[in-house]
Amino acid sequence: MSLLEVNNLDVRFALRRGDVQALRDVCFSLDRGERLGIVGESGAGKSVAAFSLLNLIARPGYIAGGSIRFDGQELIGMRDRALRRIRGHRISLIFQDPMMTLNPVLTIGEQMVECLKAHRRISTRDARAISLRRLEQVQIPSPSARLDQYPHELSGGMRQRVIIAIALLLDPDIIIADEPTTALDVTIQAEIMALLLELCEEHNVGLVLITHDLGVVSQVTQRMLVMYAGRVIEQGPTREIINDPQHPYTQGLINALPQMATPGSRLNQIPGSMPSLDNLPSGCAFHPRCGFVTRADGSTRQACVDRVPGFVTSGNCQAACHMVAEMIEHERLPAEEQV
């Protein structure tokens, strides 16, 4: 059994005009020490997915159904007291903006000691010693001086290193990182991602990495999910999806990257934009932007407009697409006829 198992997760936001469904039927799992990427554009639901793992969805949002099992325990419906023992301890979080995560009126040391004391019976002296060791691990220059500094005295990259040190404080099983390097410069981003990867491997920590950057996912993760309009539309081993994406949206996303086109030529854009969650198109939510709704012979693939596609397996990957399902069906038929 996997360390973390998410099944049919359904998250909604209760608004005056009715519920908006932010996540539908989201299923995934994470093994011990595994690194999973969740990719999608803004509004796809990737951050909501990450936050709901620890029941951090603020009202009017709520988890309407599904199950999240971590190490055999069901997290949905768990009492707050019990959940607090897992949150920040066995599953920790890294957010996009390090300035928002750190408390501006406490020194780095105070925040780290506070976190240790919340979860362990430990003396301040020991807690400081552990904190110092963690700061050394994230390669911060002059770590002992940093303990007594305030967050505003550090640069963005340095703050994100502190956040990683705090995330690692209590030897978690899983780190959830929500766009951890988006606010940083390219060279600093590369440093931070490499550091996160090294530490996860060294301590055998699982990583759920939320990002919109396919390059980062490709460098860091072993498996990935692609989300669109609140659903997972493709999942599988990262390398296989990047090299041979099945779902037309994943293909579009990869082909739209400037590095996929010859310099100066027209980029392969996906027409239109992501639909808003309270007004989703019928059938497959991607169908109004999809080039495969019309078949090669000019006929319309009616299923795309009428029915929500289920997952079909192709190799090690799964894609929720009627076109892919049809292609797999075609490949199978002649083979069976020959038998």
Binding site: E41, S42, P141, S155, G157, M158, D185, V186, T187, I188, Q189, A190, E191, M193, A194, L197, H212, D213, L214, G215, V216, S218, Q219, V220, R239, I242, G252, L253, I254, A256, L257, P258, Q259, A261, P263, G264, R266, L267, N268, Q269, I270, P271, S273, M274
Partner: protein, 348 residues
């Protein structure tokens, strides 16, 4: 397209825009009274500056797309704003089409303002929320062509809306009704409304999603082909530069450290900083991060390092790098690079 574009492209030799030793510093010290301090029994005046750009020399040729890349705080946006006249430079000269423009009054600058337009990063902030799209697009035309009849203004707006793919019924709506990509399309339409020949785009796609970025980049490239535009394109995204730019200038702490044609720069980056920057782009084919590690972080532009501004992080720095500022020298590949190591042949 109106007749102004064709007449605005005389075949004069020389660059469309050239920057000569451009400098800009921002004071951190407040007003005169706040600058006064007691030191050793004496009243002294102390001033502290952020040195945003420190002697930038750049030429932009007609029809090219010059990309300026660098990390936050390197002065790339300040260059863009200074060129547009939104910020007065502290030193150096800006020549546009052979004429010096940095010392002109606002009024004397007006004819140039029509020929150069700007696209900003954040389309949520650059559109006036109280104006309809029609009003937003008409405003620059009315300002620069007060003599045009209302009908002619409307025709011009209709034409520019069609050319960037804005539906005519958008005109009556307000900015907040549109998504980021659509707003950026409107911002581009506004820039194109007065038929400029030169466009400064400051991170025009960084606030947008990947699939929308491709749409906006395609639009900018189409506009360049159809209207013979010249671009100064500010970005931190090197993948976009490789695709879009004809030439690239890499900036670090307010100085240009390397300028080269795009293909040359990506094939043979010479400056150690350019090499580190290129290695840091996450590529799809990478299975592990494979960047060159740089020591430390970008120093603050308040106290600039002596000599080469990059020496503190450079793995090849020696005594000369710490004391002497390197000048841009031409390389065999057709670029220019400011590095003692490259000049001396220490760095390949």
């Amino acid at each position: 397209m109106s007749s102004t574009t064709t007449s605005a492209a005389p075949e004069t030799a020389g660059p469309l825009l050239s920057l000569r030793g451009l400098e800009k510093r921002f004071s951190l010290s407040g007003d005169f009274l706040e600058q006064l301090k007691f030191k050793g029994g004496k009243l002294v005046r102390e001033q502290q500056y952020v040195h945003a750009i420190n002697g930038v020399d750049l030429d932009i040729q007609r029809g090219e797309a010059l990309c300026v890349v660098g990390e936050s705080g390197c002065g790339k946006s300040t260059v863009a704003r200074t060129v547009m006249g939104l910020i007065t430079p502290s030193g150096g000269e800006i020549h546009y089409d052979g004429e010096r423009i940095d010392d002109r009054t606002t009024k004397a600058l007006m004819p140039y303002r029509r020929r150069m337009q700007m696209i900003f990063q954040n389309p949520y902030a650059s559109l006036n929320p109280r104006m309809t799209i029609q009003q937003t697009l008409e405003e620059p035309i009315r300002l620069h062509h007060p003599e045009w009849s209302p009908q002619r203004v409307k025709d011009q707006v209709a034409e520019v809306m069609a050319s960037v793919g804005i539906a005519p019924d958008w005109g009556a709506r307000y900015g907040h009704e549109f998504s980021g990509g659509q707003r950026q399309r409107i911002a581009i339409a506004r820039a194109l409304a007065v038929d400029p020949e030169f466009i400064v785009a400051d991170e025009p796609i960084s606030a947008l999603d990947v699939s929308i970025q491709a749409q906006v980049l395609n639009l900018l490239m189409e506009a360049q082909r159809e209207r013979h535009l010249t671009y100064l394109f500010i970005t931190h995204d090197l993948a976009v530069v490789e695709h879009f730019g004809t030439r690239v200038a890499v900036m670090y702490l307010g100085r240009v450290c390397e300028v080269a044609p795009t293909a040359t720069l990506f094939a043979t980056p010479r400056h150690p900083y350019t090499q580190a920057l290129m290695s840091a782009i996450p590529r799809l084919e990478d299975e592990r991060p494979q960047h060159l590690r740089l020591a430390g972080e970008v120093p603050t532009p308040v106290d600039l390092p002596s000599g080469c501004v990059f020496h503190g992080r450079c793995p090849h720095a020696d005594a000369r790098c710490r004391s002497e500022v390197p000048a841009l020298i031409a390389t065999d590949e057709g670029g220019r690079v400011a590095c003692h190591g490259v000049e001396e042949g220490r760095i390949g």
